[in-house]
């Protein structure tokens, strides 16, 4: 008995959500509201809790310190606006800079795709929906689930647009990352470090003893093996 109930149970566990198209508005409203609330709370608390909210500022020496922030509530926004990427490498290092660049790339990709995707797909899906099987909720109407035939060319066009956009942004950012990395290679820190000019040599243990002098001869003929 339970088995057929199991099989026969509604197989789309999200049917409840599907009907609740208002859930999207709710989610949007609550999350944006909550985020704004936390941001305001943060702005209020930040000037008085440097240990928690700006430990880097507290512990860094002058060479590495991030730009100073004022005590006003909104003064944390200004340094974010003003620091360029080149400065960021100096403040936070390569890994963090590339993290931020990746985030920005994602944002740009999805902003472009929003404009193009929603601009192309939604009107076409709404216009060409099959009137016979038109679903109740507008959420389902904008999906292609009830659009048949040549209206799907919009999908094809959008597929090409998506791929082109993503690849374009990836290419652009690859170039930027390469430029950042070359700049990092030329930086004082890298040029003066030892690991930049060191090679790591790993042997498989069997031929170790005979090959060490030979490898040494190839890699460092002038020196003696230490």
């Amino acid at each position: 008995m339970p088995q057929s109930a199991f099989f026969g149970a509604d197989q789309t566990p999200f049917c409840a959500l599907q009907l609740q198209t208002t859930s999207i508005w709710t989610a949007l409203g609550t999350s944006l509201g909550f985020t704004a609330g936390i941001a305001i709370l943060f702005s209020l608390l930040r000037p008085y809790n440097q240990a928690v909210y700006a430990p880097r500022l507290k512990h860094a020496d002058e060479k590495h310190a991030p730009p100073p922030i004022g005590k006003k509530i909104w003064s944390w926004v200004k340094p974010l606006w003003n620091s360029s990427e080149a400065e960021m490498v100096g403040y936070v290092g390569m890994d963090a800079t590339i993290f931020l660049r990746f985030t920005r790339m994602c944002r740009n990709i999805f902003v472009v795709l929003t404009v193009l995707g929603c601009g192309i797909l939604i009107p076409i899906n709404v216009k060409y929906v099959d009137q016979a099987t038109k679903p109740e909720s507008w959420l389902a109407v904008i999906t292609p689930s009830n659009v048949w035939g040549s209206a799907q060319w919009a999908q094809v066009v959008f597929a090409y647009i998506t791929n082109l956009t993503v690849c374009g942004f990836l290419w652009w950012n690859y170039r930027k990352v390469l430029a950042l990395r070359r700049k990092y290679f030329e930086s004082e820190e890298y040029q003066n470090s030892l690991h930049a000019r060191t090679l790591m040599v790993c042997w498989s243990i069997t031929c170790f003893f005979s090959s060490v002098p030979r490898v040494n001869h190839i890699l460092a003929p002038v020196s003696t093996l230490g």
Binding site: L17, I24, P55, F99, C106, V222
Partner: protein
Amino acid sequence: MVPNSSFARTAVSRNVKDLPELINEHDRAVRKLEKVLAIYMKNPQQLPPARPLCYPSKKDPSYASYPKGQKVDAIEYQTQRIRDLEVHIREVRASVDKRSTMSFGFASYSDIAEAHNIAYAFRKKKVHGATVRLAPRPNDIIWDNMSLTPQARSWKRTMNNLWVFLLTLLWIAPNAMIAIFLVNLGNLGLVWPAFQRDLIRNATVWGIVQGIGPPALMSLVYLVLPIIFRRLSIAGGDQTKTGRERHVLAKLYFFFVFNNLVVFSLFSAIWSTVAGVINQTQHGVDAWQAIIKSQPEVALFLALCGVSPYWVTWLLQRHLGVALDLSQLWPLVYGFFMRHLSSPTPRELIELTAPPAFDYASYYNYFLFYATVALCFSGIQPLVLPAAALYFTIDTVLRKYLLLYVFVTKTESGGQFWRVLFNRFIFSTVLADLVFFLTTWVRGDGTHIQAFAVIPLPFLVIAFKFACSSIFDKKLHYYSTHNVRKHPEAGKESRLRSERLASRFGHPALYKPLITPMVHQKAQNMLHVVYKGRLTDGREAGSSDLMSVSGYSDTYALDSMRAGKPGKSAAVPGFEFVSEAHLDFEYYKDRPEFANEHGAGEIFGTPSDMIRPGTPGSMFGGSEGSRPGTPGAAPVGGMGAADHMHGGAFRAYTPPRSASPFTPNPQAGFLQQPMSAADGPSRTRSPLYSQANNSATGLVTSAAGIPMSRPDSPASMRHDSMDTTSRVTSPYTPGPTVGALGGGPQGYSGLAQSEEPPSGATADPSQYDYFRGGRQRRQPGAGW
């Protein structure tokens, strides 16, 4: 292929035997002792009646001598254990032998281009059985895994992948259960009639549970997963920490996409299709026919359409994660509980105030996952696109603040995550193309012409990936790639003396200073009551106060014995007392055990492997390689700096100046560090603990604690060296935390070596010639 005119050094790594484990044991024992003391002496005026007990550790060699199952006095036992471990560690360090080597080594060159040229030339082939690669940063190396043979490593990696795969498969069932029963409790009610009745009765309560439960559960799993994968990866044989992070990211992404995207979205469709097929085959229809008849592709498509609103709402709620990060809510709550509800040790409190490290793998995984979800559902539910755009917009702003002001990067990789991210993005594009194909196949024209139009896309994307790879990767990874064979003269720059290779790339177990138990200062007065007995260790009473009176071999009496003020204080040596006002990371930035975890080299200090090109010879020209077994060898540590008493190297005694044309030599810092710690020979902390735990201080020999009985008396040598050294005029500068090499003038053992403060002209501690005795001075760069 010979770098014929370059000046290169090679060094093979030494076998450290079981030192790393011993040091870990020591760390654990110290922390346990600290915890026990913190709890027991939480209120020093009212000590609890019963002394704390603990079981003897199984790793204790004398474990068998304790009666089974019986607890021993914790304070006594841990202190004893710590002392035993220190002695043992010292012995092992002394016995590390030059002849006993591991199967890997390092070769450094004078110019970067040359090293990279060689690495590039040998990237695909082996040099007499050895693989040659660019070296990672010294603090990036996972030493335990470096010594694995290639076979062992590939076996470990296979096992690791197997575990991840198993974990992924194992999670399918709970994932599905959550998807069916928790996301919609009505389904649970269908199969469990009793619950159904309760559900109807208390609809609101269960509604709340349904709203909160599944996301909370999923979030918990999302939090725990990176930890599990990281542990697995450590066992999986990764050689560098940044490499491990990249692998963790890859595995996390695979897990998330497979389980949380594919299975979660398609489970219902797959389930119903399979159920239908089973049903059909039970009625005698051929399986393949049944599959075709059930139209799985339509089911899949409809399932995707049906699940898309969930993903939209889910993406909309991701902002909460960023906001919570910004508010630092978790650290605040955790810190509150730590401070007020448990009995925190000073070490824990200091770590609470340090800037936290940023977990790149987790965040990259989340971003990649969001991007994958958004791309895959973009054709089906266009609203995911604005949701994702909104999330990333908010995230760029807030994350910038967090990275700039709150988080530090624990191990800097120089941006090597990019390739992993790029590849995963390409993968998600291909996945999205598959979804487009499905959509156009199911809902397109009967001839499926739209679907065929979409087919070239995945191949184009993959071709794009290979194109980018061939164009960019080389330049991204290698500084220069001239073929040395063809252009032997290319890429050479002015010759530099290469710096102490084995010292920078030495195994930290050989020189890492051991931590001292830290105790709250409020407990100071009562500690000698609590810590019964053993105020002397049977050593002569006449030995100086430098001698550890608590039996710790390498710590010193807390109070100095100044000339004219004899007598010991009531302080209990061997422990470090931390006052309430000093329970902040600010005061412990120069301690390696704290600094290395929280941004040394990044926001303060200098990276551990900086060299200063142009100095006449290496800073530590002296005892190179390892001479642990050589009697009367160059004294540990200090001698290296003695080399600089010769010409040109007086810079060694000057503090790092940012105005200098070269990078301020971090090594210069160390010479002042121990001098500043306290007057003369006595220090409130052992000089060991004011060193940086990095390769720069890491002579392979530096911890070879040969009891340094100086053959020459310090007096005579001092006279000698006093004449030749410049006066140290500069005071101690905070910041670069390169401590003395090895154990300071007393070597590791701390046995007194006629230690008396210099009389006469150099009463000023800042001018104390710390590195007296220049017995084995070498010409700078005189060789390894």
